[in-house]
Symmetry: C2
Subunit: 370 residues, 2 copies
């Protein structure tokens, strides 16, 4: 009997994951909440997901669409949620009553979903998360997606960070994503977050143009000037400082990840981050369009409250300074007239209030809440 | 014998002040340090400053160029320094040995020069400062300047803030700048700082474009989008919070000052700050050009370390939160690879370290350092 995989979500990332799981022989089922099910109707009609990428034209990979979320979870060996952070709570609430001790739940995208899930779903159910989606994926039409595989830099952590949970998770996915590698703890999947590092700095430092321009903006191709890249590098430094305080064994910088993921060539030891960004695939990437003239997009509304606010909260708890992360949070809040610190994810909202550095390191190892 | 005025500096602002003082019957002398004296050679050659403005063509107003700084100060009733903040210390050191008890020293431009001078020059010499230059002035050629008078919103404070010092200062200048009004203390001239409020937010939120563009950028005409204006408004709110904590009786907001200065029409009570900015003279104002592709200009390198860093320091001392001011300081530091907090002006560098709100209010009233 083939391995059974439930993919939760219906955006470009979820479609890419479902197609690739199917391509690797899994019996794959997609599911979403009723309010998003219309996204999956074309998949149901085509009995599969259509994928194009840079080495082949459209291919349909067979994928089932479940009639309900519990139906998708039934007997699945692996449950992959590919949803924005602001949907974590809703998803965890929906799946917790149905998940069994034999299943593995994996969160893809911005980190910290595993912490939300661990609070609601008891061990021995294995809970894991990645720091990033294993693809660069964009929807291209009804039920179809364009997806490019990353080459590396996809980190997988389990909560608790036990060798058994990590080995089990890796075994379930290594043929699909051989470029996904185990990392020490969820603090790495939370903090080695390229979106938090490069999206927000680029959006804030180009806010005027993003709102002025009626056409698209090459967010990095135009926007990543030396000064803007300096801010990206400073955010990277601040998050690296947090990773070090939390005992991370992952030494790589944002620049290293651009190369590891296959986004940029390795320009050698003398290359600055600016050189690497300008030689990367980022330069042809357009800023997402949104409300509030281009600023009200997940590059701000997810990455600020769920990634940078959490990093700022970790900075407070560990005593690691995060002034530029803090500044981006407060300026983004001002720009959109929202209070991202109040809306966002913090140690308090995760149930980890009061933990210091030692407590946070211990939590990632044991998965036991204070 | 006509009133004698020494104007220190040789930029557009100094030339405008000298010309206007001359036009109002003062015997006016310009002086600068040797390393800037070449700026004044055309004034010496023409025996005056050439001014154009929006109601007449070029006019030459007679102004003398002094052979040395002490010569300019000699017998001057009023000494006006029109220099960037980063030159305050150098100027105070140069003039302190020569200033007499009968003279009045007035600092124009970004505030806090009076505090620097008060430390070195004993009472009863009167020391005063404004929150802004009384003109919008730009050099237009050798020894010539274009200058538009503001209509109001120019605040003058003395240190100490005594009725006698304030009355004396007002008397010396009221025929030249009838639109300059006495304000309660130097905390108002420090904090009612439009440059700090609108320059930095606009520069940071348009950093990508400023560095990318080979031609000029309409800093507000293009750059002041709704999100960017929100940041300007938040900086204004934070500085207003500081002014209130320091007992200011000046209730006006940045929007009110745009109208009071004659920069924008009064659009009535329903007008948003965005409406007012977009109806103002700011929309035709180009960003200054500088090194580092347009960012290394006084709009960042003066306004951040001398205005926002000082505001941040006042926030710490008074317990008033200044998160967006702080964020702009740290992001600007990151962008230019400098540590503006370390370079800049703080209560510590002013000799006011350790004062709390009550102490700061008392200092402005007495001029006595702790």
């Amino acid at each position: 009997m083939p391995m059974k995989v439930a993919v939760l979500g219906s955006g470009g990332g979820a479609l890419a994951v479902a197609a690739d799981m199917s391509r690797h022989g899994r019996a794959t089922t997609l599911a979403d909440f009723d309010d998003f099910m219309s996204n999956l109707e074309p998949v149901a009609a085509n009995k599969g997901v259509t994928v194009t990428n840079d080495w082949h034209g459209p291919e349909i990979h067979p994928v089932t669409v479940a009639g309900s979320i519990p139906e998708a979870l039934h007997n699945a060996n692996l449950i992959v949620t590919v949803v924005p952070c602001f949907a974590h709570d809703r998803w965890v609430e929906a799946i917790a009553p149905h998940v069994t001790a034999e299943q593995t739940v994996l969160f893809l995208g911005e980190g910290s979903g595993a912490i939300v899930a661990r609070r609601a779903i008891e061990q021995p159910t294995v809970i894991a998360e990645a720091n990033t989606l294993p693809y660069l994926a964009r929807p291209t039409g009804p039920g179809s997606v364009t997806a490019f595989r990353k080459l590396g830099g996809v980190l997988i952590a389990t909560l608790p960070a036990t060798p058994a949970d990590t080995a089990h998770t890796t075994e379930l996915i290594e043929d699909v994503w051989p470029y996904a590698t185990a990392t020490d703890t969820v603090w790495n999947t939370v903090l080695a977050n390229y979106n938090a590092i490069d999206h927000v700095a680029a959006m804030i430092a180009n806010a005027g143009t993003l709102q002025n321009r009626s056409g698209g903006m090459l967010l990095w191709g135009e926007g990543a000037t030396p000064a803007v890249v300096n801010v990206i590098e400073t955010v990277d430094n601040e998050l690296l400082g947090l990773r070090r305080a939390l005992n991370s064994k992952e030494p790589r910088r944002y620049q290293d990840f651009l190369v590891a993921q296959g986004f940029a060539p390795d320009l050698g030891p003398g290359a600055t981050l600016f050189d690497t960004v300008r030689a990367s695939k980022l330069v042809v990437s357009y800023a997402p369009t949104g409300d509030a003239g281009g600023l009200d997009t997940r590059y701000v509304t997810e990455d600020v409250p769920y990634a940078l606010v959490l990093a700022s909260s970790l900075g407070e708890a560990t005593g690691v300074p995060t002034p530029v992360v803090d500044g981006l949070v407060d300026i983004a809040s001002s720009m959109l007239g929202r209070d991202f610190r109040a809306e966002g994810r913090t140690l308090a909202t995760l149930g980890l209030d009061g933990l210091d550095t030692t407590g946070l390191i211990g939590f990632a190892r044991t998965g036991v809440f204070p």
